[in-house]
């Protein structure tokens, strides 16, 4: 399939820089007249760590579903390392699901989940070989979860859940990681552990895109924020995009904020969807 790229959609980064993930004019809907995403374009460079922020219902999870190919899009294209989604050779993306969306009573151990990253390598009609077990265990070691390999997934803390899924992505060999709301239900200590791990991964060139409605974490921990509410409203470093105008556009009237020096304090009276 030939994709025509509108010049306006080409990301503003210089072309010689490595582009891990590119979206060009992505639109998607939940059905007729129910748009979910409209004309979203951005490029995430290799090794970059970016956060998609926006209120609940802004289309953050939908965007991730489109990027991994679970949900169809009506216009535009998703490129992973320059390969189109529609092409067979598109490298796979590691996906860390939102904790609430996972059935934690599913009869699986931590190792079983890490092994799921190897399903494609193992191939059809085959069972995991020793090398696959070793790859899964090594991925668990990298996230500090090797000792918990035999544990049932319901016995994990919020931070361990996240690390297990990151291990699955590593076992998959993915160097582009999507984390959907990784900090909901995770305490500060576990959050720090996850960021240490993400720092580690960045040093190895792994690209990380997370979605969060937690502006506080996003502001302090990420190089780049993408402010989403169906459309991409702003894109850049926190201090330059978190303007009263942008925030009002994304969060509507439900948001109050103060700006004192560098710190941006955001309070929202919207809690849950």
């Amino acid at each position: 399939m030939i994709t025509h790229v509108d010049p306006a959609h080409i990301a503003r980064r210089p072309p010689e820089e490595c582009a891990a993930l590119t979206l060009t004019g992505i639109s998607a809907d939940y059905g007729k007249d129910r748009p979910a995403l409209e004309d979203v374009s951005f490029t995430i460079a290799c090794g970059e760590r970016a956060a998609i922020v926006g209120p609940n219902g802004a289309g953050k999870s939908t965007l991730f579903k489109v990027v991994v190919g679970l949900m169809p899009h009506t216009t535009g294209d998703v490129l992973v390392h320059g390969h189109s989604h529609h092409a067979g050779d598109c490298p796979s993306i590691g996906y860390v699901p939102q904790s609430e969306g996972v059935d934690w009573n599913f009869p699986l151990t931590v190792l079983d989940v890490a092994l799921m990253g190897r399903v494609k390598e193992i191939g059809w009609l085959r069972r995991p070989a020793r090398a696959d077990h070793e790859a899964a265990l090594s991925a668990l070691r990298q996230v500090g979860m090797e000792k918990l390999a035999g544990r049932h997934i319901s016995a994990l803390s919020g931070g361990q859940q996240q690390r297990m899924f990151i291990a699955r992505a590593l076992a998959q060999g993915a160097d582009v990681l999507l984390l959907d709301e990784p900090f909901s239900g995770v305490d500060v200590e576990a959050q720090t552990a996850i960021f240490d791990l993400l720092d580690d991964l960045r040093a190895r060139g792994v690209t990380v895109l997370i979605s969060t409605h937690d502006l506080q974490t996003a502001t302090t921990r990420f190089d780049r924020l993408l402010l989403l509410n169906r459309r991409l409203l702003a894109d850049g470093p926190a201090e330059s995009i978190l303007t009263p105008e942008n925030l009002a556009a994304a969060y509507g009237g439900r948001l109050t904020f103060w700006r004192d020096g560098q710190a941006v304090t955001v309070a929202t009276d919207e809690c849950c969807p």
Binding site: K65, L70, P97, D103, P107, L108, W124, P128
Partner: protein, 275 residues
Amino acid sequence: MLSFLLEPLHYDFMLRALAAAIMVGVVCAVVGSFVVLRGLAFFGDALAHAILPGVAVAYLIGGAAGPLFWGALGAAVATALGIGMISRGGRLREDVAIGVVFAGVFALGVALISTVRSYSTDLTHILFGNILAITNYDLLLIAGFGLLVLLTIAAFYKEFVVISFDPTHAASLRLPAEPLRYLLLILIAVTVVVSLKTIGAGLMTAMLITPAASGYLLTRRLSRMMLIAALIGAGSAVMGLYLSYYIRIASGAAIVLVTTACFGVAWVVSRLRNN
């Protein structure tokens, strides 16, 4: 004691019934594990009822010796694919769509069968099974298709687990999730048809979900869950048949009552363990 166990085995029809019940118990339990994990219990029940028109048409063609199995298989696969398509999204909730379709199709089956004079007996056999009338040909079909189902599950085991646990991860691996989902629905359909004469349409759900649910309560590993479910399914089949032989109750119902008792024990055990 020994004569208690051996006496029924003097009858060929009992031997065939035992063989059928054990095979059906195992196949239902293994497939049922995915039914339980994916929350497809209502789908299985609907499927068991929706095969009625297929059976009815086969019956109208050839009577009791007609191609009932093949009629049922055709109807079941068609219904599984139909429900699969309906549940792909739309304004109606999936369970509502299934309810509407299966009740309508079931009514069509009853209407068709009611044109035959021996209507009530035949309908009873379809609804509650007729395990003592299992023929060698039936056994061959059960063994052949049962084996096919088990081999397919074994072949696509890891893929079925991935699409059941995390569809988004399946998509990110570029697994053909939709064809795999349909394959699983078809396997459930074939299992229902294979079990039809042994257990009947009315109690089918019990064989699909009760042993699997018991296994789910007793272990945290999927492979062990399937093993426990298969043991409960096969064991209940044997015990149920003996029960029906000695106290003269309907065999399908007896088998289901034993599985339900097993589930009760599993529930108590898992409760005690958690406390």
